[in-house]
Structure formats: C-alpha cells, structure tokens
Amino acid sequence: MSAANDALVPAAADELSNFARARRRFLGNPAAVIGVLIVISIIAAAVLAPHIAPYPNHAGSFVDFRSRHQAPTLLHLLGTDNVGRDILSRVLFGYRVSLLLVIGVLGIAVPLGVVLGLLAGYFGGRVDTAIMWLTNVMLAVPPLVMALAIAAVLTPNLVNSMIAVTAVWWTWHCRLVYRVVKSVVAEDFVEAARVAGASHLHILFREILPNCTAAISVKTTLDAGFVILFGASLSFLGLGVQPPTPDLGTMVSAGAQFLPEKWWEAVMPGLAVLYAILGFNLLGDGLRDMLDVEI
C-alpha cells in the first residue's frame, strides 16, 4: 500500500494489542464463528460417536433387512441404507475415519512440505532447483489421479489412503512456504541476523519460520476440509477405505446405486462431507482475514 493510502488510515486503535484486534476481527465475522462451531461439532461427533450415535452397532456390518431403504424419519433422522443401517450413526462414525485421515495426512505432509519449502527458499541454487522441480512434477498431475494411481497399486485401506494422499499433499505446502520464504528472505532482518553471527539453523527456524506460521496455519485449516473431500473422493471411486468401515465417500457411492428414488442414501452422506468442508473453509477464511495473510 502506498504512503498516500497509509495517511488515510485512522491513527486510532493503536492502543489495542494485535491479538485483541485480531480477535475482535474474528468474532466480528459471523462466517468465521459459524466455521468454528461447525468444526467443533465435527470433532465432537468423531470423538463421541460411540456415545451419541443413535445406533452405535450400525457402524459395522450390521444387517436388518426389515428396515432397509427407509426415508428420513424421527427414528432415523437421515434415513437408512440398503441393509437397514442408520445413516446418521454411520455418518458420525464416518467423521472418525475422515478426521483420522486428516491428522495422518497433514501430520506428515505439512512438516515435510514446510521443511522442503524452507530449504528451497532459503538456500536457493541447486537445492532450490531440485526441490521445486520435484514439486512442479507432482503438481502437474491431477492430485486425485496421482492418488488413484498410488491407491491402485496398494491395497485399499485407511493407511494406504493416507499414504496416497500424503504423497501428493506436501507439494502444496512446499510451494506456499517457498513463496513466503522468498519474500521474507528479501527483508533486511535476515541479513541482519547473519551479520549478527546467527547460524543457518537459527535463521531458518527462529527468524523465517515464525513469519510463515500464519500462512501455514490458514492453509492447514483450509486443507483439513479438502483432505476430507479427497479421501471421500477416493473411496467414492472405490479406492479408499473399504466397507464395512463407515466412510462417507463409500456411503455416497453405495447410495448412488439407488438414485433417484432412495436419494437420501447418497445425498445425506454427501451433505455430511459438504458440512465438514464448509466448516474448515469458513474457519480458514476467518483465520486468513484475522491474520491478514495471502494464500
């Protein structure tokens, strides 16, 4: 922003700490607050599934042909599937699988991408060329296609889905951190630290990394939603978590066979995925506005 515009910004609000201001900005944003509530509800659902699900035993390979294909009623709020299982109960358990996938994938992909992005952005030269080339190669394939190819080779299950998704996911973080590092490295304080005698390790992790955390945390929050989507897409195509484990994508593809008459069997789990992505997205957008970063 130019000096001319700086002069237009009211000098007020200086007395507020950054944190207080950020918090006010966040709470003043209804979308962000809704996002937080959704995310909390999903985590609660996943953690408490055995206790709050109306039919906890429907999570597994339960069969009750008498109550199959029931439209949503008070007894089964989201209806039942083709073998008579309560869809709501399976959705709650499905969130467990989804969140496990999120934790597994982001727990590995984020640190990996961040470290590679830091190294490439800071050291430049050959390290930069090599890491960014690999990143570009991985980015050139549709992530879903790459994950599908990997999933096809490995036996479909939760762990292998994690591996497949992680294999493509780190690149996004690598590129994001790389971009941030490139701009941070141009700042004088990096050279100032070097002049003060600081080591590379200090500069990378104490000077540069703290300036990336805002961007990383926003990206990671947004990603949580998209990892859920990604896992669901994989299993929707038949290459993810296998039945009878309750997985949202598998439920959608199973339900899709009974379209359009038994629409709830596909639509309800689909909306459950949407709900999760929506929550993480709103939260991520709220964080982005609050921390004032560009992704």
Partner: protein, 340 residues
C-alpha cells in the same frame, strides 16, 4: 515474455513431464513388487504370471524397462492394454476428444459465469449482489464434486430435459469425426439437431465440473478487482474524472484478469482430477472413465498413459496461461528491465 522465454518455459515443462514419467513408472512398476501378479490377481497360476511377465518385459532391469517405455511413448506407443486388449494409444485417441470437449466447455462456463460475477461483486462491494455471489462461490468451493454431480442427476431425473448419461443420443446416428468435438462437428455439418442433443448431454457434466472452478475464479476475480481498486493509478484516473465504468471495465479488468488466469492454470490439475468423478457419474466416455476402469483393473500401461496425458493437459494449459498473461502484461513482453 519473449519468444525465448516462452521456449524456455516449454522446455521446463518438458522436463516436468519427463520427471512425471519417472515418478509414475516407479509407482506403477516398481512399488507393487510384481505388477504381473497384481494384474492377473491371486487366482492366476504361476505359469500365467511368468508368461505375462515375459510378455510385458517385467523380468528385465527397471532401467531398461523405463528406457524402452519412454522410447515407445516418443513413438506414440503406450503398450498394450490388458483391459481392452488393444494398443493403449488407440484407446486414448478414442476417448480423448470427449474429455477435451468436456474440459473446454467447462472453461467456457467458468469464463462466462465467474468473471462477470466477480467483477459485479467487486463493483458493488458489500451489496446484496456481492453477498449472494460470495455465497455462490463459497458453495462452489465447498461442495464435493460427487455431491454436485449427484444433485444434478437428481435434478435431471426430475425434469427429464437433460439426459442422465452419455455424450450423444445413439438414435441420432451422428458421429463427430471432423474435430472429434461433437458440439463443433455438428455445427460444421449443419446438424442442428445433433448440436442441441450434444449441448443437452454436456450441460450437466460441464456444470458439475465447473462448480469448483466457478467458485474459485469468482473469488479471485473479486479480490483482485478489490485490490486493484485501492491502487494509486485508479485514484489518478478518478481524480481526472474518467468515468467509473471505463476505469472498471477497461483499466482494472485487464490488470485484474492476470490473477484468475494464473489460478486457472494452477487449478487445472484438480479440474482434471474432478473429471474422473464427473465422467464416472455421467458415464461420459472420456479418458477419465477409461483411466478409472484401468486403475480398478490394474491395467498399468493404461494407467501410466492416462497419468501422462493428464500431465500433458496440465502442461499445455499452463503454457497457454503463460502466453495469455504475457499478452496482457507488457512487463513480461517488452523492453529492458522486464523480468518476473
């Protein structure tokens, strides 16, 4: 961007494709241990497996296999498909136009819907039009591709105007054999009935595939316009009384189109990925459908070909984006001191 810079970029992309071929080769041929066993399944006899290994060259060193494979690819041969028992290249050639048509149609939808909405939203910032288009873009971004596809199918089955699956009605007896794109060929041949039929077929899959892109591009266009609205040069023109619509539609829009173009290039990969879901749900006879069947039946030659073709799609799309951005931005095109 000078011609040499463009060539350099193309060369860089060629390297990316080469890297991709290595990665996918490693994934498909080396990770699984014995691709022949996987392809034939656990019920095949040891002799059958050994025969396939020899037939496909799996018994030779990996490097030799790779060099052979790349040599074949450069001559236009991707090997034989275990699924269809035909050369993979002819399978691809058959399926490619359908996907190409779907993707191009999607891009048109994105361009026609997302950019104007983004501009309107930015122009009337914080108005009802801004709020509703932001809601639409949020829904576009957060709705899973398969949910969009399924909802559209429900919609179609209710109204019976749009066909649920396929690309052309078989009873028309129309074959797109000029460009391979049904929409174009029907017009070239003057078959308006076929054109309408093709349009009805492609509309829902196209809409499903474009949902995410529309959301994203609308968002980027809006924020880019808002960002530019704060710049000094807009203030300059305003202070000289140049009308707002000229500033918005001429000066700001050209500058603001760079960001969505770049994003479109980057997001092209996920668009192709989504095509897998859309083609499956709408039984669209493209390479994504083909690739999915290949993956499910562990047909590695076909899988590798599909991955490479997807990569090629991405690379070509990004070259075009680079070219378009260079045409817009003179700093990439002319004069000294120009650099990225």
């Amino acid at each position: 961007m000078t011609v040499s810079a463009l060539l350099r970029r193309a060369f860089g992309f060629a390297f990316v494709l080469l890297g991709l071929s290595v990665v996918i080769f490693v994934v498909a041929r080396i990770v699984p241990g014995d691709p022949a066993r996987i392809a034939l399944g656990p019920l095949a006899t040891r002799e059958q497996v050994a025969q396939l290994r020899q037939e496909m060259g799996f018994d030779r060193p990996a490097i030799v296999q790779y060099v052979d494979y790349i040599g074949g690819v450069l001559r236009g041969s991707f090997g034989k498909s275990l699924l269809t028992n035909r050369p993979v290249s002819s399978d691809i050639a058959q399926a490619l136009p359908a996907t190409l048509e779907l993707v191009l149609f999607t891009l048109v939808l994105i361009g026609v819907l997302a950019v104007p909405l983004g501009v309107l939203a930015a122009r009337w910032h914080n108005s009802w039009i801004d709020n509703s288009s932001r809601l639409v873009s949020l829904l576009g971004v957060v709705t899973p591709g398969f949910v969009v596809a399924i909802l559209l199918q429900l919609f179609a089955s209710h109204f019976h105007f749009f066909p649920l699956t396929g690309r052309l009605s078989p009873d028309l007896g129309f074959v797109p054999d000029i460009t391979g794109l049904a929409l174009v060929d029907s017009l070239l041949k003057g078959r308006l009935d076929a054109f309408g039929d093709a349009l009805r077929h492609i509309f829902l899959p196209g809409l499903a595939l474009s949902a995410a892109g529309i959301g994203q591009i609308m968002r980027i266009t809006r924020s880019s316009m808002l960002d530019i609205a704060r710049r000094d040069h807009v203030e300059t023109l305003r202070s000289f009384g140049v009308p707002g619509r000229v500033i918005t539609l001429k000066y700001m829009l050209r500058l603001a189109s760079i960001a969505p173009l770049t994003i479109l290039g980057l997001e092209f990969a996920s668009l192709i990925g989504n095509a897998f879901i859309v083609e499956m749900v709408f039984a669209w006879p493209g390479i994504a459908s083909y690739g999915l069947r290949a993956i499910l039946s562990k047909d590695f030659n076909a899988v590798m070909a599909v991955v490479l073709v997807s990569g090629l799609f991405f690379v070509v799309a990004n070259l075009l984006v680079d070219l378009a951005v260079a045409l817009i931005d003179p700093r990439l095109r002319v004069g000294a001191g120009a650099g990225r």
